[in-house]
């Protein structure tokens, strides 16, 4: 055996020395990580391991002006357990299994989990929650989650809009007041293991949420109900494909009712085609027709171009460069005064009046009445008026605009202008929200009416009221007479422009009026889209005005100014409303059209047919959805919008679009949507251009612009 040599020993010593150095540097390295970088790494690690669970705040309630609920968030109880607090897991699991009708073993597993928080059951119905409470078990707790409910069904659906699954405002007031209604979310911070399980010794932090504010609308539920009922009735009578009724208090611009058809049930908004979410009174522009004439009259009177006594010669037509314009009945009034021309709604006299005003003053008054832009009402999607550029407007344009054609405005604009015409000449911004109440402090903030400016003088306003009263008493608006009250108004029958051509057979019949005559408490605009057969505003819209006003004035307690004409007292609407509970829509899919119609009518529903088929292929909403009687059920009889499921399509780019436009776009090619967030679409999944199959779901992420 050889002795280890000296050199061998020396080399071993070198190796030891090398390892010593390496170990010292490793110790230094470990120390650096633990002592120098430690604090930062510990924080990062904690962030990595924990997740925040957002607690949705309870969304504020939307009420009518009297505090009646229109949109509420219902607290639903969700049950969770803190396993460490439970004494007898087996017994607890057994007791819960009975009440919740869950598997006992599964509950036992959950309850014996070593975590600080375990969901047991979410969104329980109240009875079950009560039963669990009565068990009085240790370690079980309730937390509240909220669900949006529209207790009145489709009533005022176009005003209210709707909120999505995460209680985010998507349409209507829910969208425009989303921030106020939402409140501030709270959070639970929890720690998870790498596979998503909650873990013992977890970091647990709870920040409570702050409830959203309550909103009191200017809408009066009773008047809204009256308007909706009468609108449904009128549509049924006239065969119109849609329409709207606006009721406003001219003294403060309060919108008392805004009814529109077709409508939808916000409780089941996703069941309805997105086209129906559109609020026609705000988002559609139409030629106003003769209801626009009071605006021209006011401008001409205010500027002194005419007086009621100014004499005109009306041969039944008038020639302007490029056109010959006739009266609606092609009859001439001969030599007559302006007042008579107004009452008889003579186009010839208004053309002449408009020409006397000239382009400058015409456009000036459009602007002063707020008819050249928008009203700024607190609803999303308000359309801008469409008016020819002043610089390019010809004499013929001025002539035609003078009786309400060529230019297009919204119903809310017309109503707002009407309010200014009769309230002494003051233009107000239409008000939809009266008060905002802080749900936590009870503090109420009034949302004051925005007074814009004096448009015409008190005198002009008064003259115009008289002219409109005369129109109802002796002229085209005789069917608008309200028993017990002196009403004023103006009829309108506008020819629609369809695909850029003025249509001969498609009309908008309208009536704009107010009552009582001397101190108007209510103005009301009725407009019916494409009534069949009879389409004159005086014939089809004026009676609707009468019905709505009769009950509205009585409901508001306005003293009759013409008691002699008072007939029998109308029935009390309030009682009628109480009996007006939502009813489930019957199943009519697959039935012949006439049979389906009968069933729906028996059930108190109206229906609207899409397509020329004889059999109902689809219905909206589907059976079982609860709707108020009188609501419209859409019946589809043609397959044109139905696609073979599974057929391949490319996902269009809908980024930057509003929810409604995006939904329409995707709906058109047979794709369904899922929504998160609110505002405009910022992200979509799948990406544009991806090939998917019809019937697939496209997820849309929405964000408010600017946030």
């Amino acid at each position: 055996m050889r002795q280890p040599t000296i050199s061998l020993r020396r080399r071993i010593l070198y190796v030891l020395a090398a390892f010593l150095l390496i170990f010292l540097s490793l110790i230094f390295r470990v120390g650096w990580i633990q002592l120098v970088q430690g604090a930062e790494l510990r924080q990062e690690a904690q962030q990595f391991r924990t997740r925040e669970i957002q607690i949705q705040p309870k969304r504020g309630t939307v009420m009518d002006r009297e505090g009646r609920d229109l949109a509420v968030s219902v607290d639903v109880d969700s049950l969770f357990a803190v396993p460490t607090e439970i004494q007898d897991v087996q017994q607890t699991a057994r007791a819960l299994a009975d009440v919740l009708e869950h598997q006992e073993e599964e509950l036992f597993d959950r309850l014996s989990r070593s975590a600080s928080f375990v969901w047991i059951a979410r969104k329980l119905n109240p009875e079950t929650a009560q039963q669990v409470r009565e068990l009085d078990l240790r370690g079980l707790h309730f937390t509240r989650e909220s669900q949006r409910v529209y207790p009145k069904g489709s009533l005022a659906s176009h005003v209210l809009g709707f909120a999505g699954i995460d209680s985010q405002g998507l349409e209507g007031l829910e969208r425009s007041y989303d921030e106020i209604l939402t409140g501030e979310p709270g959070k639970i911070v929890m720690e998870f293991d790498a596979e998503g399980r909650e873990i013992p010794q977890a970091v647990y932090r709870h920040v409570p949420s702050r409830q959203g504010k309550h909103i009191y609308l200017t809408i009066d539920e009773v008047i809204q109900y009256i308007a909706e009922r009468e609108l449904s009735h009128a549509i049924q009578e006239t065969g119109a494909k849609g329409g709207s009724i606006l009721v406003m208090d001219p003294s403060n611009g309060d919108v008392l009712a805004l009814a529109a058809r077709p409508d939808y049930d916000p409780n089941q908004w996703a069941e309805f085609p997105p086209q129906l979410w559109r609020n026609p009174a705000i988002s559609n522009t139409e030629h106003p027709g003769s209801v626009f004439k009071p605006v021209i009259a006011a401008a001409a009177l205010e500027t002194g171009r005419v007086t009621p006594e100014t004499t005109f010669y009306d041969p039944g037509y008038v020639q302007v460069p490029g056109a010959t314009i006739h009266n609606w009945d092609r009859e001439g009034l001969g030599s007559t005064d302006f007042a008579t021309g107004f009452i008889k709604s003579a186009n010839v006299i208004f053309v002449k009046t408009g020409l006397r005003l000239g382009l400058d003053e015409f456009y000036l008054y459009l602007e002063r009445f707020g008819l050249d832009s928008t009203t700024g009402i607190a609803l999303p999607g308000e359309a801008h008026a469409i008016i020819p550029e002043k610089d390019s407007a010809r004499e013929v344009d001025l002539a035609v605009m003078s009786f309400g054609q060529t230019l297009s405005i919204t119903a809310i604009q017309m109503t707002t202008a009407l309010a200014a015409l009769v309230n002494g000449g003051m233009l107000l911004q239409p008000r939809l929200v009266r008060e905002i109440e802080d749900a936590e402090t009870g503090q109420v903030t009034e949302n004051r009416t925005t007074v814009l400016h004096q448009v015409v003088s008190e005198d002009t306003s008064s003259t115009l009221r008289q002219l409109m009263v005369n129109t109802v008493e002796d002229g085209t608006g005789s069917r608008a007479q309200i028993p017990g009250y002196t009403a004023g108004g103006k009829t309108g029958t506008a020819q629609k422009t369809v695909d850029g051509v003025v249509s001969r057979d498609r009309h908008v019949a309208s009536f704009a009026g107010f009552a009582p005559a001397d101190e108007p408490a209510v103005v009301c605009l009725i407009s019916l889209d494409e009534p069949q057969e009879h389409y004159y505003g005086g014939l089809v819209a004026a009676p609707v005005f009468r019905q709505v006003m009769k009950e509205t004035l009585r409901h508001l307690g306005i003293a009759p100014d013409d008691p002699e004409s008072l007939q029998d007292s109308p029935p009390d609407v309030t009682q009628e409303i109480e009996q007006y509970d939502p009813v489930a829509v019957p199943q009519v899919k697959g039935m012949p059209l006439d049979e389906a119609g009968e069933i729906l009518q028996e059930g108190g529903f109206e229906y609207s047919v899409v397509g020329d088929g004889a059999e109902v292929l689809h219905q909206f909403p589907s059976s079982g959805v609860k709707m108020r009687p009188g609501a419209t059920v859409m019946l589809y009889t043609e397959e044109e919008k139905e696609y073979l499921e599974g057929e391949a399509v490319d996902v269009p780019d809908v980024r930057g679009m509003s929810l409604r436009r995006a939904a329409e776009r995707l709906n058109d090619i047979g794709l369904r949507i899922q929504v998160s967030g609110s505002g405009v679409v910022v992200e979509q999944n799948p990406q544009p251009g991806t090939e998917v199959q019809r019937g697939d779901i496209v997820h849309l992420s929405l964000e408010s612009p600017g946030s």
Binding site: M1, R2, Q3, P4, T5, S7, L8, R9, R11, I12, L13, V15, L16, F19, L20, I22, F23, L26, I27, R29, V30, G31, I33, Q34, L35, Q37, G38, A39, E40, L41, R42, E44, A45, Q46, F48, R49, E191, F192, D193, A194, E195, R197, I199, Q201
Partner: protein, 379 residues
């Protein structure tokens, strides 16, 4: 010092036997105890999740520790020259084990590499045993003629051919970490045995392109290889593992979050009770604990090399050196990986990491060291 009656045929007459190195014995017991406690703490959650029994790994590691310590005390009784007599047998054993692990059905594939073989109900990782066998064989080969070591052709090359075959088989598994440990051990052993430094440098210069090729051949290996340079460049991919390791270490700071208090062990840190157990030590016991553990290893290294330096003959010196280097080099690589100064290679921390066969072999190796120590001239 010349020992009386030494024979050129290598049948030594036993010199007077003393008590084994007490400090080494104590250190080994301390390390094993430390290891069992840390396996218990770091594995409790994953054991609960995987097997529904938080003590699953502890029970097994405890048994292996008892078996390992028994085998250490047993091996300590076997005089070291017995190993020399059977050195070639150990080489054959090493090569057979490696070959077996490559045979499908015998070698068990886990995470894309065949590192263990099935023996009845047990799955055994032969890497440790292979290393020990190679060390015994090399100590034997290098000890014959010291002068030969000066010659590249006759001293350095022949054992390299044999070791090269073993390393090649390890790379086929593939197990880069073990291959590196073997290569490193051989290199240091060559140096200790008296090889010329220039030869060793030459050897490294030749091996470098091969290592480079091996790393670049597999894209995953390259990504893993460079991830330690900046783990945050790919935090959810190649850098994930190392970031979780740094999170654990950093969270410990000076005093640690307390034994059993690790949060990274909730499956965030993969291999929390095996290759990355050092990170959990750092998290739970802080710099105090991780520093103490490194110092224990340093004591082990000191005693190991000291035994080598004072061993009675050239074979025992080289054997003690080889065993010490084999264990300490693994510690360096393991801690280097955990602290992100080295690329991630799957190497357990000797004495500490969960793994029965590894613990058994490492403790048996310690037994050999202890046996040699009882023949040492006392320093």
């Amino acid at each position: 010092m010349k020992s009386a009656g030494s024979s050129s045929r290598g049948i030594p007459k036993p010199r007077s036997k003393q008590a084994p190195d007490f400090i080494l014995l104590l250190t080994v017991f301390a390390l094993v105890g430390f290891g069992v406690v840390m396996v218990s703490s770091s594995s409790s959650y994953s054991a609960l999740v995987r097997f529904g029994d938080s003590l699953y790994y502890l029970k097994r590691q405890g048994l292996w520790a008892v078996a390992g310590l028994a085998s250490m005390l047993l091996v300590q009784k076997i005089d070291y020259w017995v190993f020399r007599r059977h050195a070639r047998l150990f080489l054959v054993l090493a090569l057979v084990l490696l070959a077996l692990s490559l045979i499908p059905g015998v070698g068990v594939e886990a995470r894309g590499s065949r590192r263990s073989i099935v023996v009845g109900p047990l799955s055994v990782s032969p890497a440790e045993l292979v290393k020990l066998c190679l060390v015994i064989y090399l100590a034997h080969t290098f000890c014959r003629v010291p002068q030969k070591m000066k010659s590249f052709l006759f001293g350095v090359l022949p054992p390299l051919v044999v070791v090269g075959a073993a390393v090649a088989m390890v790379m086929l598994q593939p197990d880069l970490g073990t291959a590196l440990t073997i290569a490193g051990t051989v290199l240091i052993l060559l140096y200790a045995a008296g090889a010329r430094v220039i030869h060793l440098l030459l050897l490294m210069a030749v091996a470098a392109p091969a290592v480079y090729y091996l790393i670049m051949a597999e894209p995953y290996r390259y990504r893993r290889f460079v991830a330690f340079l900046n783990p945050w460049a790919d935090p959810l991919g190649a850098g994930f593992h190392i970031i979780q390791s740094l999170y654990a270490l950093g969270s410990g700071r000076l005093l640690g979050v307390g034994l059993g208090g690790s949060h990274q062990k909730f499956l965030h840190l993969p291999e929390q009770h095996t290759d990355f157990i050092f990170a959990i030590v750092g998290e739970e016991l802080g710099f105090v604990g991780s520093g103490l553990l490194l110092i224990l290893f340093l004591i082990f290294a000191w005693r190991g090399f000291s035994i080598a330096a004072h061993a009675p003959d050239r074979f025992s010196t080289l054997l003690a050196t080889g065993i010490t280097v084999m264990i300490v080099l693994q510690v360096v690589i393991n801690v280097g990986v955990v602290t992100s100064v080295m690329p991630v290679t799957g190497i357990p921390l000797p004495f500490i990491s969960y793994g029965g066969s590894s613990l058994l072999v490492v403790l048996a190796s310690a037994g050999i060291l202890l046996n040699i120590s009882s023949y040492c001239e006392r320093a």
